[in-house]
Every structure is written in structure tokens, then in C-alpha cells.
Amino acid sequence: MNDETIPAKPLPKMTPGAEHYWHSATREQFVLPHCTACDKVFFYPRVWCPQCLGQDLDWVHASGHGVVYSFSVVHQAPFPAYRGDVPYVLAVIELAEGPRMMANVLHCDPATVRVGMPVEVTFEDRGEIKIPQFQPVHS
């Protein structure tokens, strides 16, 4: 497949309350929203805490560590931007801080990915911004 025929991967839509998350990721910092009222770290970033709807939020610098909660190795590209990536790993990551998020597991053979595998954050350049991704922990 000629790379020139592959369009750019999608950028995340900027949703309310998430700007700081993406700005931080672009500086290769992985942050999570935290509710000061109920002391809860949550995902995904939004204008209020999903537990108490409190809007007094701040940000914590997350460890960037987690484990694979579940995953699938995608063999058929869902759209042209992923033609050059198959097979790739679509995973749900359970963060050390508790919340789960979706990401790809990069920089490894997809066949080696397992549920429970320790992973750490890495950042993928999408042009205008960088987005948090995960890779196996190299010990």
C-alpha cells in the first residue's frame, strides 16, 4: 500500500473541559481530571465530576502506568487512515489511578499483547497535537 494514498488519522474533537488534557499530552504530559469535592480521579475529562457533578476540578499528573484490561487485534482496517496500521491493537487500559481509557498498544508485536500486561504511556504525534498511547513496560 502506497503511503500517499493513506489519509491522516483522525484528531480528537475538542470537547468541553478537555482542552487542558490535550494541551498537556501535546507537551508529553499525561494528566487526569480530579474532583476536589469528592477527591475522585476520573476519566474522561469533562466539565464536571461524573460522581458528584461538582465543577471544582483540578488536574493530577498521572503515573502513566496501567494494565491492559481488554483488547482486540484489528486485522481489517475500519477506514483508510488505518490501512497502513493493520494489524493494530485497540485496547481498554486500566490506569494505575483507577479509571479506564481506550488507547492503542504501540511499539510491540500485537500477537504478544495480553490482558493484565503492564503498559506505560507514550505519545503519538498526530500533527497539530499528540495523543496519549500505551506501550509495554520495558524492564
Binding site: 476519566f43 482486540s72 484489528v74 485497540l90 479506564r100
Partner: protein, 390 residues
């Protein structure tokens, strides 16, 4: 005891591609077919619930389908709406219809849907991935509907040792049934084997092509009625003995527990309201966008032991002649998935089995059965218990 409500009549088009029919034309065809099969007149329809036409077609969905249908049929319903909950739409329609009928708002309510399925290979996959994924926190990671469902399958494999071959057994079982259903899209084809499923094109682990439902078009209609109307229309109505509803999440990564995704919670409510338990069920019809769903949801519905869904399907119990038949019309896997209308097919079949009109695939024991459907990415759940005795 609440007033008895039943499914009095059902009708469904054969899933296929209908290039000459748009969403509205499919709706009209479904109504025409129902009225003809059951010798009904438009005046027999006192209420009407419809699903937006053209949703899966990439926007421009018509949310006034109910109005269009009133006008086409020349009726003036006492109760009506267009509503959507994805695949759970029609389970919820039956539940809403029952509530309205018990409240005396109408003697009968028509629950109807028609759907088209976009071609997956020509932009359909991206369009549907956008529709079902968070636009900031999921879609940019290359979401793909099979890979979203696969999160449940992979987790189940991890927790219970379920194998890809056991998921394939679900597809094999469904095909056995479809070969007995002339209305199924795969009727007249060859039986599947686990080896054939595993040899088909890999889509997203653990799913291969035959672990996925068949995208087609079609529609169906279900007339829900009070006791007197139901008895007039049907020799054996399918009485609604219990119903349950549960809403879990919107985006799959937000599901609190992939092994307790809402199916069992809706199911327990339905059993409780019916005064019955899983052990009273004689068959199940379970929405199956992918092979993972019947396997895991049999467990959630208490119809087999936790973690034993794979062994249950591998045992042959769910196939023709088995102890506990599942998806006796072929399921969306082998009957066909009619897009926005897909959530009707398992209810129509559950009703047909209880009504005793399932033809060559009629079960010898179909006094009580359970029908489970869900919408979104296993986000919202509907369980119905149908039986021969009100």
C-alpha cells in the same frame, strides 16, 4: 396481577438488499405484509411506535416516521411516537406498548421498524464507528465495531478460559437453525463448522468473518394488544409475562464491568416481574451482532453457569434437537442483520415459537421463553419473557 398483554401478530420481511426501496418504502411493505398475513384492518391499530427511518444510512434520519405511517394508513392513533434505542428499540417498544395498554391508553399498539445497513466496505465502517464511539476519547484510536465487541470476548477468554473456537460454535449453532428457516438469508447454504469459521477472513481478534452478523436490509412489525384483542387475532397469543430494562453506558471503555454489562440486570428484573426464574425458560432468543453475545449473555441471563457459556455452545445444547435452543431463526449471524430494524427479529421469533407458528423449526417445548435485545455497544438492555399462559 396486572392486566394481561400479549403479542397478537408478527410479520417480518426476508433480510436481503432492497435497492429499489428506501426506508419509507420498506415501512410500507412491512405494514402491508402484516395486515395481509393476519387479516387486519388499519383500524385494528390504535397506537403506533416506529423507529427513525434511515439512521444507519449516515444521517438525515426521519424522526417523524410515526406521522407518515398514520397518514399512509389513514389512522388517528391514541398513542404514538418515533423512538430509538438502537437494537433495544423494539424490546423497549413492546415494554412501552404494554404499559400504555395496561394504562388503558390503547387496546393495541403496532411496534414497527425497517432498516438498511450501510456497506461496511465503502465508508460504512467509519460512519458507524463514529456513531458508536466517543468522538474525542475513542474514535481517534481507530475504533471498529467488531473490535469494540471483541473487548468483551477477550476479557471473557481471560477470566474464564473461553476459546475462539467456542465463540465459533455460536455461529455454527445459528447456521443450523437458519438452514431450517426459509426466511433466513443463509437458507439453502452449507452448514458451518468451527474450522470454517476460523478459516474465514480475520476481522478483529478473536472474530473472523463468520463470527459477525450479515449486514442486510428489511423490517418487521409486532402488534401488542390487550387480552380481548389478542384472543380475537391469534389462536395462541404470546403473553408478555415479564419485562426488564437497564441502561449501563454509552462508550465501551466506560462500562463498569465488561462481565456485568447490563444484560443480567435487565434479565433479573424480567424474571422477578414474571414470578419466574431462568430454570423456567425453555428457549432463548438473544441479539447477536457478534458470536460473543449469545455465549456471554446466556451466562448473564442465568441460563448457564458463569464462565460456562463456551462449553454450553460446544455441547450442542443450543442447536436443533438440543436441550436448550437458542436463536432458533438463525440469529443475526445467519438470518441477517437488518440495520435499524435488527432488534425486531429475535422478538418476532420468540413470539412465533410461543404462538406455535414457527414452521419446520417449531420447538416441541415452547411454553415459556426469554428474548433479550440490547442497543448501542451493549449499552442498554431489554429482556422480555413470553409464554402461552397469561
Amino acid at each position: 396481577m396486572v392486566d394481561a398483554v400479549a403479542i397478537a401478530a408478527v410479520s417480518e420481511m426476508k433480510p436481503a438488499r432492497y435497492p429499489d426501496k428506501d426506508g419509507h418504502a420498506l415501512y410500507i411493505e412491512v405494514v402491508r405484509q402484516l395486515l395481509a398475513e393476519w387479516h387486519l384492518k388499519p383500524g385494528d391499530i390504535q397506537g403506533l411506535l416506529a423507529c427513525p427511518a434511515g439512521m444507519a444510512g449516515g444521517g438525515n434520519a426521519d424522526i417523524f416516521v410515526h406521522e407518515q405511517l398514520y397518514e399512509e394508513l389513514g389512522i388517528h392513533p391514541l398513542y404514538g411516537d418515533t423512538m430509538n434505542a438502537g437494537g433495544a428499540t423494539y424490546g423497549y417498544m413492546v415494554q412501552r406498548a404494554a404499559l400504555a395498554i395496561r394504562q388503558g391508553l390503547a387496546d393495541s399498539v403496532l411496534c414497527i421498524g425497517a432498516g438498511k445497513f450501510p456497506k461496511v466496505s465503502t465508508g460504512g465502517a467509519e460512519m458507524m464507528a463514529r456513531m458508536v464511539s466517543h468522538e474525542a476519547f475513542e474514535f481517534p484510536y481507530g475504533t471498529f465495531i467488531p473490535a469494540i465487541y471483541a473487548q468483551v470476548a477477550t476479557r471473557h477468554m481471560h477470566e474464564f478460559g473461553t476459546t475462539a473456537e467456542q465463540f465459533a460454535e455460536v455461529a455454527v449453532s445459528s447456521r443450523e437453525w437458519a438452514l431450517r428457516n426459509p426466511q433466513a438469508a443463509t437458507y439453502g447454504t452449507e452448514p458451518l463448522t468451527v474450522a470454517k469459521v476460523r478459516a474465514s477472513r480475520p476481522i478483529a481478534t478473536p472474530f473472523h468473518l463468520y463470527d459477525c452478523s450479515i449486514p442486510l436490509e428489511g423490517g418487521a412489525a409486532i402488534l401488542v394488544a390487550n387480552a380481548s384483542v389478542a384472543k380475537r387475532i391469534a389462536r395462541q397469543p404470546a403473553w408478555l409475562l415479564g419485562m426488564g430494562e437497564y441502561h449501563s453506558h454509552r462508550n465501551i471503555h466506560q462500562a463498569a464491568d465488561l462481565m456485568d454489562i447490563g444484560c443480567g440486570r435487565a434479565g433479573r428484573m424480567a424474571y422477578e416481574r414474571a414470578g419466574l426464574g431462568p430454570g423456567d425458560m425453555q428457549f432463548a432468543q438473544i441479539y447477536d451482532a457478534f458470536s460473543v453475545n449469545p455465549l456471554v449473555f446466556m451466562e448473564e441471563l442465568g441460563l448457564c453457569a458463569r464462565g460456562k457459556g463456551g462449553a454450553f455452545f460446544a455441547s450442542g445444547a443450543t442447536r436443533p434437537g438440543g436441550d436448550f435452543p437458542v436463536n432458533t431463526y438463525g440469529g443475526l449471524l445467519s438470518f441477517g442483520h437488518t440495520g435499524d430494524a435488527s432488534g425486531l427479529s429475535m422478538i418476532v421469533e420468540g413470539a412465533r415459537q410461543v404462538m406455535g407458528i414457527a414452521g419446520d423449526r417449531q420447538l416441541p417445548r415452547a411454553d415459556i421463553g426469554v428474548v433479550h435485545s440490547y442497543g448501542g455497544m451493549m449499552s442498554e438492555h431489554s429482556t422480555l419473557i413470553l409464554g402461552r399462559q397469561s
